[in-house]
Amino acid sequence: METPRLSSLYQQLILEHYRNPRNKAEMDEKTVEIHMANPVCGDEIRLQLRIEGDQIAEAKFVGQGCSISQAAISMMTAKIQGASLSDAEGLAERFTALMHGDTEVAKDRSLGDLRALQGVSKFPVRIKCALIGFDALQEALKKHAAEGPH
């Protein structure tokens, strides 16, 4: 097996999001909150969404973890501000496919900054780090659908 290169993993954009995470704050007006933890490594986040109608009016998170998990959730929250619920769901599905090595999705420019995380797919033990935020997003959308609009 070819040795994956570290430079493909630790891109400047990832380190920049890790140091200056977007939307990292408590939100008072949240309509749904998901707590997600990876007990193996201690990554722990709470994703908070304010959903209005069919739209994510606001997305914030708090928590801590490695550069990959924190950058991925920072990029994700930036991407889903104002997105429709179905777009957010679609984004989660495409990003998950990207992490599992789907090369078609890798060409998808609409993923924006999240494409910087493509290299994670070459480091199998780190994929779950990149997905913790999107796993929380999918849970949040499910929870919202189950509980109905507020």
Binding site: T3, P4, L6, L9, Y10, L15, R19, V40, C41, G42, D43, E44, Q64, G65, C66, S67, I68, F123, V125, R126, C129
Partner: protein, 409 residues
């Protein structure tokens, strides 16, 4: 004994001779599990290719050979910790099962409502959760010896924590997360004054230094084979014979019985009373071979080598800008573990970068979340050393940490 030569010792461990990510492997995750010498692998192969049979059952030759090898291993491992009698050594799956055995076979009959169980915030989860389960079942309460800023137990608190309500004191011999070596002998003496049982989690203890359970003055000592060059899935509980004889069985099944009736049965003698079912015969034989191997190298020589490596590692790693090392400052109070953080690089990122350099370290909470909480951190990176590690390994680690600084610096 010939002079200690880590390079020669290294050649006895086939797994160390490989490249990882195109770099020669540097294995520094020994506190999680050690690599296995050829002598142990050969013992396992010999058993399976020649002597494989069930123990204590057959009259035939293979069963006789398997039984002899299995019971010989018990004698070796019992002598390894200077147990007065090899019948006091119960085979288990490892340290975790040994501690669970005590909480069930002794705890359920001897701990009651209002009683106290004293452990510490330094413990591995395997020496917390079984006691939590027991406390919950019996209405007992858990009390904790706290740690100081260097990750040492605050023993000044001991007199106020011990009382006639204290039924058991259960502590790790050596901390897996910090390397702290606890003064078990002193604590055991204090615990016995109030009549408490003293249980020691020796998973990291019997590995690096000569353990003498009689000198320590404890009642139970639990340890694992896989951390001391033996196979996984085998370990032992040593306990005083009178204690074992007074205890209820742990699991029921074959091997642990004497006579079986419709309603009532009688139990086999110790240690077999606690060994229901076909045991891990190969594992026990492998653990015996591991003890032979370590004795051949010499535990004093291993301890001296590790002390030297630890001092070098603390000096080299500790001088890297941004590194914070956790645990006792005095090397006298410390085993060959360096648990650290580096600037704002998360330990998982440190581990991934080191792995790309062929260096295996552990990153995370090390099954010691109370330790992490004490220091207000989520995780550390941990380099842990064993007899086959060298100063070159430390140098490679330091180089790797330079790359971490280059990326996160």
């Amino acid at each position: 004994m010939t002079a200690f030569d880590p390079i020669k010792i290294r050649s006895e461990f086939p797994a160390l001779d490989q490249t990882v990510n195109d770099k020669p492997l540097v294995y520094l995750d020994n506190a999680a599990t050690s690599q296995k010498p050829k002598a142990v692998l050969d013992a396992l192969e010999r058993y399976y290719t020649r002597d494989n049979a069930n123990v204590h059952r057959g009259i035939h030759e293979l069963s006789r050979r398997a039984t002899v090898a299995y019971e010989d291993a018990r004698i070796k491992v019992a002598q390894w910790i200077n147990a007065p009698d090899s019948d006091e050594l119960v085979w288990t799956r490892g340290t975790t099962e040994a501690i669970n055995l005590i909480t069930i076979a002794w705890g359920l009959d001897n701990v009651g409502e209002g009683d106290e169980i004293l452990i510490s915030t330094m413990e591995h989860h395997s020496n917390i959760i079984p006691w939590q389960l027991l406390a919950r079942r019996k209405g007992a309460s858990l009390r904790y010896i706290e740690m100081d800023s260097q990750g040492r137990l605050i023993l000044d608190d001991l007199p106020s924590l011990l009382s006639e309500r204290t039924k058991v004191v259960a502590l790790g011999h050596v901390s897996n997360a910090l390397g702290t070596v606890n003064p078990i002998k002193d604590i055991a003496a204090a615990a016995h004054e109030v009549g408490a049982l003293v249980v020691v989690d020796g998973a990291q203890g019997a590995v690096h230094t000569k353990v003498d359970v009689q000198d320590l003055g404890v009642d139970c000592y639990a340890f694992s084979g896989h951390k001391m060059c033996g196979p996984t899935g085998i370990g032992a509980l040593w306990a005083r014979k009178d204690l074992l004889e007074s205890m209820s069985p742990y699991q029921g099944g074959g091997e642990m019985i004497h006579f079986v009736g419709r309603e009532e049965s009688t139990w086999a003698k110790v240690p077999h009373k606690f060994e229901a079912g076909t045991p891990n015969i190969a594992g026990a034989i492998g653990m015996g071979a591991a003890v032979d191997f370590l004795a051949g190298v010499g535990m004093d020589a291993i301890a001296a080598h590790e002390d030297e490596l630890l001092a070098y590692a603390i000096e080299q790693v500790g001088s890297i800008e941004g590194v914070h090392i956790y645990g006792p400052e005095s090397l006298e109070e410390r085993s060959a573990v360096v648990s650290f953080t580096l600037g704002d690089a998360h330990p998982h990122d440190i581990s991934t970068i080191l792995d790309a350099e062929g260096i295996a370290v552990r990153a995370g909470h090390h099954c010691a979340q109370l330790v992490m909480k004490h220091f207000g951190i989520a995780a550390t990176a941990r380099a842990s050393f064993y007899l086959y590690n060298t100063k070159d390994d430390v140098d490679r680690l330091v180089e790797g940490l330079g790359i971490v600084r280059g990326i996160f610096g």
